[in-house]
Symmetry: C2
Subunit: 418 residues, 2 copies
C-alpha cells in the first residue's frame, strides 16, 4: 500500500469506529481509560525499551540535549500519563448532555444535545506523552483519533499505540478508535490533511512552522494558535507590589510556554516608581530587558528595543518593556502586536478593569492575575487539548466540551409547517 | 488598483471597522438597523431603477425566467427586507452577555463573555435581499461584513450598499462596517478567500458548485452545507395518519429547499398499509416516485430507483422511496446517504424515538415532526444566516449567537501561579 492508501484506510476505519464510540456509554469509556492506565504501568518496560531506540537514534543524529530530553519516557512520564488518564476518567462526560428545552408556539420542543465531533487528527512533535494524553481526551469525548507524532518518537509512539489498542479491545471497543500513523514519512501528514470526508478536525501542536504548514495544507478545519505574545499592563492605579508579583510570575515561572509574558507595558505615571524595583527583581532571576527609550532612560541596564522586539515570542528570559501614556495606548499596542492569546491588566480602577476585559481581543483577558492562568486546568476545564486563538468553535483552552458539538433534537406530536 | 489590492484594502478597512462595531452598544446598532429600514423604503425607487438594469442585462443574456425572477426587487421585496431589519433590531443582542461565573479554589473568578467574530465574508448568488438580510444580522452581532453577491445583481447590490452606508453614517458608525465588493470579476472571490489575516469567517450561500469552490480555495474557516438529503422514516409503530401528514408536508410544502424530504423510508411491517394511500396523496400533488423493488411491487406507478437516486437532492417533486427491515436498517441507510442536515422519524415507540434522536448524525433530528422545521425562525433562533452541516462552531441553523464566540474573562486580586 502507498502512504496515501494507508492513511485513507486509517481515516475510513476511524470514521467507522467513531460511530461506535459516539454511542458508547460513559462507564465503558471510563473503564477503557482506567485499563489503559494500568497497562501503561504494567508494560512500562516495553515502552522504555522502544523509547531507548528513539533516544539512541536521536543522539546518533546529533539532536540537542534539550530535544533528546523531550523525547525521554521515564518512570515519571509513565506516572504522569497514567495519572492523567485516571483524572480524565473522573471528568463529567459531555456527550449526550442537553441544555434547556425551548417550547415553540406550535408545541414543538427544541433542545440541543452534545455529540462528539467524530474523527480528530492530532499532529504533534517530540513528546510521546501527547500520544496518551490526546487519546484519553478524544476517547472520553467520544471521538476517534488519528495521532501523528514526530518521526523521532516513532518507536515510543508505536509502543504506546499497542497499549491503547489493548485497552480498547479489553472493553470491546474497536482498536481503530485511536490509531497512530505507522510511518515517519512526511507524506503521511499531507495525506491526513486531505481526508475531509472522514476527518472532522485537525489539531496541530508544536512550533509555529508545523502549525503554519498544517493550516496551509489542510482541507479540514484546524484549531490552533500560532504563538503567544502576551502582555501585562500596569495601570497608574495598580497596587505596585501586586503588579510586581504578577509580572514576575508571568515572565519567570515558566518562560518557555505560550502563556508567559513577552512584553510589559507600564503607565507613564508609575514607571518611575515601578520599573527600577521591578528591574532589580528581574535581574536576580536573569531576565534580560529590551526597553523603549523611556524605559532605557529609567533603566540604564536595559538594551534598546528594536521594532522586532514588540511582536517577538521569546520563550525565554528576555522581556520587552514599554512605557505608555495610558490604558488606551496600552490597548493600541496590544491590538497591534498581540496574538489574541492572553492579556492582563493590573489596576485598582473599576471602570478600566471592566473596559479592558470587554475590549481587549484575546482568548483570555485577566484583571489582577498572572497570564500563566490561561490553561484548561487552571480555568476549571480539566485537562486541555491545547489553546485556540482562532475564534471559530473554540477560543482559549480546549477541554472535553470543545471536542464536542451540539445538534438540535426536536420532539413533536405530528407538527407540520404551514 | 488591481482587484487584489481593492479587496485587501476592503478587508483592512473592515477589520478596523469591526473593532469599532465590536464596542458599539446595542441601542446604536438597533438605531442603525431601523434607519436602514426607513431608508430602504424611502429610496425604493432608486433601488428599483438600479434593479431594472440588472433585469435588462439578465434578459438580454437569455437567463431563464426563474433566474430573472430571483433577481427582481419589487415592493414586496422592499417590505420584506425592511421588516426583516426591524425584526432583527428587536432581537436580544448576544454581545457582552456572560454565562455563569466559576469560582476557582484560589479565588479567581472565571466567566465567558460573548464577543463578535470580527469580519465575516458572505459569498452568495442572485437574490439581492441577501445583501440586506446578511448585513443586518452581521451588524446586530457586532461583526463587520464584506458582501460578494452574484455578478448578475451588481447594480442592485451597489444601490443597497449605498443605503447601508448611509444608515451607518447616520449613527456615526464607519461605513466600512458593511461593504459590497464593487466588481463582477470572479478574481475578487479568490482574493477575498485569501484574506485570512483580516477575515474571520466565510459563509457561502448558493448552489453546491459555489460552495465547493469556496471550500476548495479558502484559507479562512468556512461554515456551510453542501446539500440537504433529508429522510423521513416511518416506523412500524407510527400513527400512519400523522406519518402521512408529515411526509406530505416534508416533500410538498416547499420542495425546492434544503430541508425538504428527498427519500422516504418505511418499515416493512407497515409498508402495505401506508404506501398505497400515501402514493395517492402524492400523486394528487404531482410527486413522482422512484422506488426500491419492494416499493415498486406495492406501487406499480413508481419508477424503479437507481443507485443515483439514494444520494440525490432533487429539490423538486421527485421522491425516492425505500422499504426497510427496521429502524436499524433505516439508520444505516441514513448514515450512508444522508447529508447530516435534517432527519425525522415518525414513531410512537418511546425507546426508538430516543435512540433515533441520540444516534442519528444530523444537525437537526426530529421525532413526529416535519423536516421543514430545520430553520432558525422555526426553532426559535430568529432569522438565520444559513444552515451549517459542518460540526465545528455551528451545527444546524445559524442565528445571531452563531455569529459570535466566547472569550474567557478572569478576575483576581493578585493571584499568581505556583
Amino acid at each position: 500500500m502507498t502512504i496515501e492508501q494507508t492513511i485513507l484506510q486509517m481515516a475510513r476505519d476511524a470514521k467507522k469506529a467513531a460511530s461506535v464510540l459516539g454511542r458508547c456509554d460513559t462507564t465503558r469509556k471510563n473503564r477503557t481509560l482506567l485499563t489503559m492506565a494500568d497497562l501503561l504501568e504494567q508494560q512500562a518496560d516495553v515502552v522504555f525499551r522502544e523509547n531507548r531506540k528513539d533516544l539512541e537514534r536521536a543522539e546518533a543524529a546529533g539532536l540537542s540535549a534539550a530535544m533528546v530530553d523531550r523525547l525521554r519516557v521515564d518512570d515519571k512520564t509513565i506516572a504522569s500519563m497514567a495519572g492523567g488518564l485516571r483524572e480524565v476518567a473522573g471528568y463529567d462526560d459531555p456527550v449526550g448532555t442537553m441544555g434547556p428545552t425551548r417550547m415553540r408556539p406550535n408545541g414543538l420542543r427544541v433542545a440541543r444535545m452534545r455529540i462528539p465531533l467524530g474523527v480528530i487528527g492530532i499532529i504533534y512533535e517530540s513528546r510521546p506523552n501527547v500520544t496518551i494524553d490526546a487519546a484519553g481526551l478524544c476517547l472520553k469525548s467520544g471521538n476517534a483519533v488519528i495521532l501523528r507524532g514526530g518521526s523521532e518518537a516513532i518507536a515510543s509512539n508505536q509502543a504506546l499505540a499497542r497499549i491503547i489498542a489493548q485497552a480498547l479491545e479489553s472493553t470491546g471497543l474497536p482498536p481503530q478508535a485511536a490509531q497512530v500513523v505507522p510511518t515517519e514519512d512526511r507524506a503521511a501528514v499531507n495525506a491526513l490533511l486531505a481526508q475531509e470526508e472522514f476527518v472532522d478536525l485537525i489539531i496541530p501542536r508544536g512550533g509555529e512552522g508545523l502549525i503554519r504548514f498544517v493550516v496551509e495544507h489542510s482541507k479540514i478545519p484546524v484549531l490552533k494558535h500560532y504563538k503567544g505574545v502576551c502582555h501585562v499592563f500596569v495601570d497608574e492605579s495598580a497596587d505596585l507590589e501586586m503588579a510586581m508579583d504578577i509580572a514576575f510570575n508571568a515572565k519567570v515561572q515558566r518562560p518557555g510556554v505560550c502563556n508567559a509574558m513577552e512584553t510589559l507595558l507600564i503607565h507613564r505615571q508609575v514607571a518611575g516608581d515601578f520599573l527600577p524595583a521591578m528591574a532589580r527583581r528581574f535581574a536576580e532571576a536573569g531576565v534580560e530587558l529590551r526597553g523603549c527609550p523611556d524605559t532605557c532612560a529609567l533603566l540604564p541596564e536595559a538594551k534598546p528595543a528594536e521594532e522586532a522586539d514588540w511582536p517577538a515570542e521569546y520563550l525565554n528570559l528576555t522581556l520587552a518593556v514599554k512605557v505608555v501614556a495610558d490604558m488606551d495606548a496600552a490597548m493600541t499596542h496590544i491590538d497591534q502586536y498581540g496574538s489574541n492569546h492572553t492579556e492582563a491588566i493590573v489596576t485598582s480602577h473599576y471602570g478600566r478593569a471592566q473596559r479592558f476585559q470587554r475590549e481587549v481581543d484575546a482568548s483570555v483577558v485577566l484583571v489582577n492575575a498572572s497570564t500563566r492562568f490561561n490553561d484548561g486546568g487552571q480555568l476549571g476545564l480539566g485537562a486541555e487539548m491545547g489553546i485556540s486563538t482562532s475564534k471559530l468553535h473554540a477560543f482559549g483552552p480546549m477541554g472535553l466540551e470543545e471536542l464536542t458539538t451540539k445538534k438540535f433534537v426536536v420532539s413533536g406530536e405530528g407538527q407540520i409547517r404551514e
